[in-house]
């Protein structure tokens, strides 16, 4: 079976997001960009499923600007077999909405026929947490979100989900869309030989129009601002003062 893994290029996890002075968004010029950490976990899981002999091919897909090539090369170096780049914009500040992403991925899925699509549960830039669910609805496939354990069987995939209050296990018919949570695995680093090998793996470049998908924007971003900041308070001298402050604010 084939596994499709969408990977998003986002502002690196360790870089602090800076709001542009004119309120038009986050400044993404000349900052370090990386693969969305949740997508890395999804890709790692796909590679482990393949290593266990339960999948033949892993296809990584990225949607966005030309530079997403780098993200796909990283995916190939980690262990994806081939990559598809959908160039949907030439401005890195133009975030493609999950609904459009789902339309693009659905078109690719119909062409490629994967049994499983493994997605990160959310992108750490727009924090929507929506692509996997929308994609699964578009394809009318089964949906399993927030996976902390994935067990691929013949016609079904058994997924343990991180839900409020604990864990829920469900079985989803294949083909399925699964979104992954933090504790599923720890992604590997690409080794130098694999980075070299990745340069020769196939990377196909297409446009949304090739897939018959139109880029739309249903949510107009009117402005982006800094959150209200808290001011640093008082450093207390001893435990008694702290006890007093806690007691003042309990049930207050």
């Amino acid at each position: 079976m084939k596994i499709l893994v969408p990977v998003k290029r986002v502002l690196d996890y360790n870089v602090k997001a800076r709001v542009k002075a004119d309120g038009s968004g986050i400044d993404l010029a000349n900052v370090k960009m990386s693969m969305n950490p949740f997508d890395e976990i999804a890709l790692e899981e796909a590679i482990r499923i393949k290593e266990k002999g339960n999948a033949e091919e892993i296809i990584a897909v990225s949607i966005g600007v030309q530079q997403n090539q780098e993200t796909l090369r990283t995916a190939l170096a980690m262990g994806a077999d081939r990559a598809i780049l959908v160039v949907a914009t030439d401005d890195v500040h133009n975030d493609i909405e999950p609904l459009t992403v789902a339309n693009i991925l659905a078109a690719i899925a119909l062409k490629e026929g994967p049994s499983l699509i493994l997605c990160g549960k959310q992108a750490i830039d727009n924090d929507f947490n929506a692509t996997a669910q929308m994609l699964s609805a578009k394809l009318k496939w089964s949906q399993a979100t927030f996976a902390s354990e994935i067990d691929v069987k013949k016609d079904i995939v058994r997924v343990t989900r991180e839900v409020d209050g604990g864990l829920q296990t469900i079985e989803a018919k294949i083909p399925a869309v699964v979104s992954v949570d933090l504790r599923l695995n720890e992604p590997r680093y690409a080794s130098l030989p694999n980075i070299m090998k990745a340069k020769r793996k196939p990377l196909e470049e297409i446009s949304p129009a090739d897939l018959g998908v139109e880029i739309t924007q249903r949510l107009k971003v009117i402005k982006t601002k800094e959150p209200d900041s808290r001011e640093a308070g008082l450093i207390l001298e001893n435990i008694d003062q702290l006890v007093e402050k806690i007691q003042e604010n309990v049930g207050g």
Binding site: T169, K220, K223, K225, V250
Partner: protein, 308 residues
């Protein structure tokens, strides 16, 4: 404008706080109907009917909805949901699972984690782990909104809504529920607790976490943890407070041995009063704390517990 709120009900049990706060956000636009779909609805629907600003409680009682599986919920209820202009749900694992699927089916973009309803088409939501707040305007015919419940207070129980039974066809051939493994606890629920005591990497081990739990129990508080503590196996994952865990806004938040990484701050910085205990005076947590104590937690926390 017709407004619907999806009540969160897990196996017959109403998530009252979450649902009430979603009603509170929705009611900024007008009176609301609440959809109560579960295997047992009598207690849940009675409680929802008392929520202020609720006009009708639509009750759909069927074994089929016990676990609120995404397919069961969205496929079956699509027609009902489609007759509203606004659909709100709490931004819990229930809302996050179901609402975007409905969006995919209706070809409507979901507006996730809304922290403020500005008008019928304009909303504020945090992005980049709360490092920025975006104002977005939706052009969709239906607005699908998940509510960041920590930004809203529950509505008072002074209402008396109509309870109406409804019917629809069950349909889910895609997923099957196997089991739930829920953490059982006598402590208050993390997202609705008035007081939260959280431990971080500094606590050092699962055994040491009992110190945190002891103080929490003394204060009648919920227990939270930083991602570092959860990843190190000191605390279960549903205790995690932060952008990828739970977002809390209690009256009092006590952070113990937590350095204050940005993703943790995103989950608790709306708390009314923040108290931090950390032996490192440079820890970023002190930049958001109202009161800080630079001390060894193993010495300080048991002493605090004794003195309260």
């Amino acid at each position: 404008m017709k407004i619907l709120v999806l009540a969160e009900i897990n196996n017959g049990e109403l998530a009252e706080d979450q649902t009430s706060k979603a009603v509170s956000a929705a009611a900024t636009l007008g009176k609301v109907d609440v959809l109560c779909a579960s295997n047992q609805c009598s207690v849940a629907s009675t409680n929802i009917a008392k929520m202020e600003n609720v006009e009708n409680v639509l009750v759909l009682e069927d074994e089929f909805f016990a676990q609120s599986l995404a397919e069961s919920y969205s496929e079956t209820l699509l027609d009902i949901i489609n007759s509203y202009s606004h659909v709100f749900a709490p931004s819990s694992s229930f809302g996050k699972n179901v609402l975007p699927r409905i969006g995919g089916m209706l070809d409507v973009m979901v507006i996730s984690d809304v922290s403020k309803v500005i008008s019928e088409d304009t909303f504020e939501r945090p992005v980049y782990a709360g490092n920025a707040i975006q104002t977005v305007q939706s052009v969709d015919k239906v607005k699908l909104i998940s509510v960041r419940t920590s930004n809203y207070s529950a509505v008072p129980s002074t209402g008396s809504a109509n309870i109406k039974k409804i019917d629809c066809k069950s349909n889910n051939s895609l997923t099957t529920f196997i089991e739930n493994k829920m953490q059982t606890s006598d402590r208050p629920e993390l997202t609705s607790a008035k007081v939260v005591v959280s431990g971080g990497r500094g606590v050092g081990s699962k055994e040491n976490f009992e110190i945190i739990e002891g103080l929490a129990d003394k204060l009648g508080a919920a227990v939270g943890a930083s991602r570092a503590a959860v990843d190190s196996g000191f605390a279960p994952n549903d205790w995690q407070v932060g952008q990828t865990g739970k977002v809390v806004a209690p009256d009092l938040y006590v952070a113990v041995g937590i350095s204050g990484a940005i993703q943790h701050l995103a989950g608790m910085k709306d708390s009314k009063v923040i108290v931090a205990i950390n032996k490192d005076e440079e820890a970023p947590i002190f930049q958001v704390a109202d009161f800080g104590l630079v001390d060894d937690l193993f010495k300080a926390v048991p002493e605090i517990e004794k003195k309260i």
